[in-house]
Symmetry: C2
Subunit: 218 residues, 2 copies
């Protein structure tokens, strides 16, 4: 069982590309991140990380006293990476349609990294068994994504770049839920279902741009 996990994890090329000079704390977070999205918070141990990094599990405890600390650091890291991604994207890309494309791209990347589940999906699934400190951070993680999607959809419709019926906040919920589920479904059917889902979501938001005037009056 352990061997199987490690075989899977080694497929994540990101790990191999980690420079040997990177300090141990960061390497732990990278390995932990991969295991977290592959097996869930309760599905990996200090030993899994230790083997991947060529250390003993006691060494991990030096950097993260207990697993709750490690999990919290992982969630904070996910939040930071997402917010930095959004900031960089918005400084570079103006069109909300293109921004949404970039958002979908995040999920395609997860899929291509060996059918990883998105961080929101992991915390949603394991929520009841997470330490309380992680639960609060998990709520914020989902809120960050929701806020970004809502804002992007709202601005995009106002600018005529995309369209959808109803309120942006609720369409954002549907898109977030669908992408989260898509990544999970894709790992079972392994038939590029996620790209079909992305294509369908795009189709739904593009087709009504032409009747933006008469579509919303009912």
């Amino acid at each position: 069982m352990l061997k199987r996990v490690l075989d899977e994890a080694r497929h994540a090329s990101r790990l191999r590309e980690t420079s040997p000079e990177a300090d141990t704390r960061e390497r732990i977070l990278e390995a932990g991140s991969d295991l977290f999205q592959r097996r869930g918070f309760n599905g990996f141990s200090y030993k899994h990380i230790a083997v991947l990094l060529g250390l003993r599990h006691a060494a991990i405890h030096y950097h993260f006293r207990n697993k709750s600390d490690l999990g919290l650091a992982l969630l904070q890291r996910y939040r930071r990476i997402f917010l930095e991604w959004a900031e960089e994207l918005e400084s570079r890309v103006d069109d909300e349609w293109d921004r949404l494309q970039a958002y979908f791209g995040l999920y395609v990347d997860y899929q291509r990294s060996g059918s990883l589940i998105c961080p929101s999906g992991v915390v949603s699934n394991d929520f009841d068994s997470l330490p309380e400190a992680m639960q609060e951070e998990a709520r914020q993680l989902l809120r960050d994504r929701w806020n970004w999607l809502t804002r992007t959809l709202d601005n995009g419709r106002s600018a005529g770049k995309l369209n959808f019926p109803g309120r942006a906040a609720e369409r954002a919920l549907v898109i977030g839920a669908a992408m989260q589920g898509a990544l999970q479904i894709d790992r079972v059917t392994s038939n590029n279902r996620m790209e079909q889902i992305i294509a369908q979501l795009e189709l739904e938001m593009r087709r009504d741009v032409s009747d933006i005037d008469n579509g919303r009056s009912s």
Copy 2:
């Protein structure tokens, strides 16, 4: 930790309503089903079930030699229940819109039973760590749902009961993924996000029916 799990599980009123006469095998499956959707396949043990049923864990092994057998039986049971649900529904309800409402109702029931995750969501998340026999059954579980949704959407659009752009099979993927994600998101935000998602999905499928009828001129 164990205590916390059991406190949570006892909230599932279905368990309390189980008649004492029900044979042990079926009671194991009922308790296992609740734990499965609450904690994932790796998140519960024979001991959890045993405590809930007032037995010793060795007794569970008499009915299910190992956990893989138990898990397989759970998945087969989920598939049977869904297919029976669909058959009963279709013998009673003709309108595809109403059938879709009933489908959404399944998820509302899960949510009200203490934010359970749907079976498809659990197997998707735990897929990599499932025994091989369970993986094949998991694929079928998702396929059953997808087939049913595709058929219902296709027939419903042909009959003018609902509308959506693109192909039924792909819209079915979006709806399945969105409902699966909705249940997960709901358990984190605990703010009835799922009902908002259902309302949005309904809005998206209803709004264009009038466009077709009115030739988009109103």
